[in-house]
Symmetry: C2
Subunit: 313 residues, 2 copies
């Protein structure tokens, strides 16, 4: 009897292609991009690979379910009390930190190496040997030090930077030089060269990046938001940028997405809008995680990235 796999995701067909290429043994694959499709074929499904929000609705109809591999880190939809929890649940971990590092340091280096200015010089055939700035000895402040913040801290340390971390209370990342906790956010922000917001959206984090925090940064500072749009007082940020009180803002997330037509951010020369692309998980990488776990599953080995329902992660 082959293992019946249901792929339930907007990217289902892309995942299917990658998984079929891997020629896994004893597998029968069905790919659905919607719940309606999935409802028709869910009987006898033993394994589901897909988006937690979609899978949740299907749980009552999967009598043979043994294992769910989520395509995301966030499995909250599957944790709620009252849902069945009698299957193995694995998620995606450790891939968002590296992607966020590529994003954050890509934009920092883009500014410090003067890439745009050098391109402008090149157009005029000017041999522009204006020195770049280096990351070495600059100070980066991480507003939030979870697994993503920890990876950013490690990358910053690799580039010889000093790293400050702002957390509620935890101090467990070895790459953070100095920790700050509420209410000491101004001390944390004071003189930073780079401020990177990575916090989740909670009542405590709403508009945490406000006028006072922005005013504490170095005037040449870059502000980078890869957390949530709700973290930022957008009006205060707009004023600081328009008055050149900080150098630039690189914004991946906004209070309202997509950013509305006509929003002042679109036209500001010191705003970089990246349209929520900072850490899109790569379908190839996500499928690889499934493939690796499938091979463990059929050999009765423990699965990687197992989520414990009672712990929530």
């Amino acid at each position: 009897m082959p293992h019946r796999l249901l792929i339930l995701s907007a990217n289902a067909h892309q995942y299917q292609e990658i998984i079929e290429r891997a020629k896994l043994p004893d597998i029968e694959i069905q790919a659905c991009t919607s719940l309606v499709q999935a409802a028709l074929i869910s009987t006898n499904v033993e394994i589901v690979f897909g988006e937690p929000g979609l899978i949740r609705s299907l749980l009552p109809d999967l009598p043979n379910l043994a294992w769910v591999q989520a395509t995301w880190a966030g499995v909250e939809p599957l944790l709620a009390a009252g849902l069945r929890h009698n299957y193995l649940l694995t998620n995606i971990r450790g891939v968002f930190g590296p992607l966020m590092s590529e994003y954050v340091f890509g934009y920092i280096l883009f500014h410090e190496r003067r890439i745009l200015q050098r391109l402008a010089s090149q157009k005029k055939q000017i041999w522009d040997n204006t020195p770049p700035r280096t990351l070495h000895n600059k100070t980066i402040g991480l507003l939030g030090v979870g697994s993503i913040g920890a990876h950013l801290a490690q990358t910053a340390r690799h580039f010889g930077m000093k790293v400050r971390g702002f957390t509620r209370s935890s101090e467990d990342c070895e790459y953070v030089d100095k920790y700050y906790h509420p209410p000491k956010i101004i001390g944390f922000a004071d003189g930073l060269d780079y401020l990177v917001a990575v916090l989740p959206n909670t009542p405590q984090t709403v508009k945490i990046v406000n006028h006072d925090v922005l005013a504490a940064l170095d005037p040449s500072a870059l502000f980078i938001n890869v957390g949530r749009g709700s973290l930022v007082d957008e009006i205060a940020l707009q004023r600081h940028l328009q008055a050149n009180q900080i150098r630039a803002a690189i914004l991946d997330v906004f209070q309202n997405e997509p950013l509305a037509e006509g929003h002042p951010f679109w036209g500001m020369p010191n705003v970089y809008i990246t349209s929520h692309t900072a850490a899109l998980s790569d379908p190839g990488e996500t499928a690889e995680i499934f493939i690796k776990n499938y091979n463990r599953f059929i050999q009765n080995e423990p699965l990687e990235n197992l989520v414990l329902f009672e712990r929530g992660y």
Copy 2:
């Protein structure tokens, strides 16, 4: 008696300012940007901080010379037989690798994160969520693995890349996954996502990046030259770029510098000219090395980055 320091460098006044700010004990500082100035005040100088090429001419006039701190890595001008070698010589080391990493990965990320394309979308108020490419699992080839190549390898490994190294024979960098040696340069180049030239100029390296090497790269490859202009067959490179047989070239060095007005590279949309700025040593960092060593010098401690004349480094 204070220690008499002569700063002899085009950046002498900048160095002087930084060193004076450090309020070093027992020091008397004179800063000269030229040999003519220096000749007038060299008597009794005990310490020289400056450019080896300038210092060389002054050596016979420095009877009290005890220590030279070079502002560069290359101290060849001071090594020649026949020159006096009865003083401590220290140089700058280990700072070029990090700067080169900032340059190389700045330009790689600039391309993979589609920074220019996203800026163009922003001008049109388009919410452009085209996925970026990731560095993870890409393959970088380092043409030359000295101290700079080793730092690039370490940075590449940090970003989850596979690293190939091409060297005459050495295989001593732990961050290189696979080594290649002459004549196996095509095997080395085969399918690379990024080719970075870091070799010095020797008879064996002239035009080592030729038609065949470029043809072996992945069509989406970036070629980055931070070594010497002589490493590249510029005509072959131009043809490959014009035919889009590789994605782009990021060129810091050229056969003739500054690059001549009217050279086709200036106007090519897939060429990035950075005018020999990839690893300019930072005056602040260089002065810090002097300051640290001065404190060791006056406390009779061994100096850092000591060059052994008989060994040459």
